[in-house]
Structures are given as structure tokens and as C-alpha cells.
Amino acid sequence: KDPAYVVRLGSPTMNDTVHHWMKLFKEGVEKRTEGEMRIDLFPASQLGPIQRQIEAVQFGAQEMYTIPPEFLAGIDKRFMVVSAPLMFEDLEHGFRTVQDPEFSKFMFELGANKGIIGISMFCADPTSYTFTEPLQTYKDAEGRKVRIFASDMERETIHRLGATGVPMSLGEVLPALQQGVIDGARTTVSIFNAFKFYGSAKYLLKTEESMVCPLQFVSRRWFESLPQDLQKILLEEAKAADIATHQFALGFLADNYKSWVDNGGVIVELNPEQREEMRAKLEDVGKTVADKDPATAKAYSQLRAIADRTRQ
């Protein structure tokens, strides 16, 4: 039979942790609603660039999207705090924190008066760097041109490391690396692999200072028009998919490091001493950036407190 409700769910990438979540969510919801609701998946930015899909969900032109919250900073600056370096120790800690009811309530409601409601959150990948030239430690990144996503947190992070941040869309990064327009890139190992950076920028500096934790959100206008039981199913299935995806994410990360090396890439690990040094440099990036705006500063200390509580 024809479904009474169709959900268009978009994401920026494909065949990764987020895509895995989407498939689980689709399966769960369609089964629970016995076909009354259908979830159509549109990975790989098929429905448009990131900022435009966010707007589409705000307007109710698209029902659902999944993106790390720092991309939502144009809606509310406070979304950026999740991407602060050292907010989370690792994927495990990140997951524990974003699943904390107090933390998730804050994130889910943050965009409510701008048309979006969060329904789930997990942590997919840690960020690292790749470079075209070999390096020994994070200090060798100094003076190099590194592609970043132009968020305030990334700018400050890259500045602290003494490198130059070059904002650039993902599609341009590889040719820019090959021709030497830039010397490196900051993003996640799964994206390094997906774009085959090991061919031209094979030195992966494993820093893992920030966790990429996608927020799944729906159009408020649309969500509130749904019957209560369907709303409940969406929330529950999203949560179930979070938990299953977390296990997947851990394996996926390990697989990605392995496949980086299998493809000829080199992983540069920081020794404990270097790691501590780097941590000291980056420790107050989150606070420094957040302090520029009172509401963001408040959100940062609030969420940071939850993260510290779940740190173990």
C-alpha cells in the first residue's frame, strides 16, 4: 500500500557511519509503522549543498537531515560548541556525552524556534590531518596551508597549531593538494579514504582532537503535524539506530585506519609527550571561541560540565 507519510532524509556523504545510521533508521521506522511511513534516503548531498538542505528543513520543504552541529552555527552560534577540541576524549566518551539526557535535550531544542528539532545524536569520527609532505609530529604542521571548514572553532584550532587555515569546498581539496595550492587538510579518516587522499597526501597526522557527532533533525513544522504515536516511533527508532551505529562506528574507524595503511598511506602517531603538548595548546580553544558571545560562553560551560561528568 502507499505510505501516508514520506520522509526525505538527506546527508552529505555516502557509505559511511551516517549512511549506516540512515539505513537502520529507515528499516526500523518502516517496520514499526507497517509501511504507513516511508523513509527515502538521499545521501551524498543529492538534495543540495549542506546549508541549503538545512534551510529546506527549516522551511519544511525537506523533512529530515543529518549533519554535525557546527554546520548549524548560522542558525545559532551555540551549535558550534560540540566541535570544540578536547571536548571529548574519544568516540566512546563522545557517545556517552551526547546520549546524556541533559546534553541531548539542550542540543535537540536549540534550533526549535528556527524551525528544526533534533531527534538523535551519536559520534561518527574523530578529526585528524593529512599532509603531502612527511612530518614527525604536530609541530611540523606549522606554517603549512591546511584546508579547513570555515568554522570559528576550526580557525582557532588551526591557528593554535601555527598553520594557515584555507577554507575550501571538499570537491576542490584533492586537486588543490596535488598541485600544492594547499599542503594538507583537516577532516576525518573516513573522508580521507573516501576521497583517496592517500594517493597525494599520504601522511596522516593522527591527532583526533575533535569528535564529529552528527545531529539528526527534523522540520518542526512537519514533525508537529504528525500523530503522537508516529512522533514517538521516530524518536525511539532514532535512539535505537544511535546505539547500533555507535558499535558500527568503532569498527568503521579501525577499518579506516587499516585501509589507509593498506592503500599506501602513512600514519604519524603522537607520542604521549607530544600529545600532552598539543593538548595544552588546544585546551582552551573552545572557551576562547565561545567567550566571544555570552550565550555561547554559557552553553560551552554548561555542556563542558556534562562532558567532564561523563569523562569517567
Partner: protein, 162 residues
């Protein structure tokens, strides 16, 4: 009608002038970004976004003039073989279609812009209020609507193009 035509021509040329400024702006920002990054090791972090927005603004500000001067790209193979009353009806239907589409964009776009304004939404990098950039779409199409209506009046009265 003549004075209306003059006003329309003046307004649409003015918008075309602004669009040209935008194109100049793209050239300047692009050069500044390349020089800044390569020579001074300081890339303009907002350059990509600015250039994309300037192109968007330029395109939709050009739309009224293109409509006014009947310069839209189209296939006239069949249309040119028709003349007289049939051609008039034919053109009238095309103008009505064009009006309907343009009006629909205004109908959907204007509230969207108002919404972005009330949300205070800003762009990612340059923190430009999004309602300003978005507004060129309903603005361009609203002017196109006026122009198409004038054209319909002209067709019905049997007047030629200005």
C-alpha cells in the same frame, strides 16, 4: 504607457548595473584571495561564500531586464511560423505561463525571506544576513511579474513592444 515603459527601462537597467558591479566584485575578491593566500599566506576565509552570493544576486537582478527586453533564451522554430490572431493567442498563453511561474516564486519566496529575517539567520563564513541574499529571488521575479503583465496588456491592446 510610454512613461511606464521609461520607468521600467530605468529600473531594470539600474539592476543590471548592480549585477555588473557584482561581477566586478567576483573578479576582485578572487584576485584578492589568490594574492592573499599565495603571497601573504593569508587566505580570505569568506571569499568563496561572497563570490557565490554575488553571482546569485547578479543573476536574479539581471532577470527583470532580460524579461523586459524579451531576451530569454528560447526556441522560436515553431512560433515564428505562426502569425496573425493565432500567434497572438499563442504568445498570450506563453506570457500567462511565464507570469504564473514568476508569481509562484514570489508567492513562496517572499514568506521564506520574511522567515529568514525573523530568524536572524546569517551565512556560515561571512555572517551575511541570509534574508538579504535570498530576497533577490522574489524581488527579481516580482519585477518580472509586473513586466509580463505590461506585456500582456500590450498584447491585448495590440500594441508593439516598447
Amino acid at each position: 504607457m510610454k512613461s511606464i515603459d521609461r520607468v521600467v527601462a530605468w529600473v531594470t537597467s539600474g539592476l543590471h548595473f548592480v549585477a555588473t558591479l557584482m561581477l566586478v566584485g567576483i573578479v576582485v575578491v578572487n584576485a584578492a584571495n589568490v594574492i592573499g593566500r599565495y603571497i601573504f599566506n593569508r587566505p580570505a576565509e569568506t571569499a568563496d561564500e561572497l563570490m557565490i552570493f554575488m553571482l546569485t544576486i547578479a543573476v536574479f537582478l539581471c532577470l527583470p531586464r532580460c524579461t523586459n527586453e524579451d531576451a530569454h533564451i528560447r526556441m522560436n522554430l515553431l512560433r515564428d511560423r505562426i502569425s496573425g490572431k493565432a500567434r497572438k493567442v499563442w504568445d498570450l498563453l506563453l506570457e500567462l505561463l511565464h507570469f504564473g511561474l514568476a508569481a509562484f516564486v514570489v508567492y513562496v519566496g517572499a514568506p521564506s525571506v520574511a522567515q529568514l529575517f525573523s530568524w536572524g539567520q546569517v551565512s556560515e563564513a561571512a555572517k551575511i544576513p541570509m534574508w538579504i541574499v535570498h530576497s533577490v529571488i522574489p524581488l527579481g521575479f516580482a519585477l518580472a511579474c509586473v513586466i509580463i503583465l505590461l506585456s500582456i496588456v500590450r498584447l491585448l491592446r495590440g500594441w508593439g513592444r516598447p
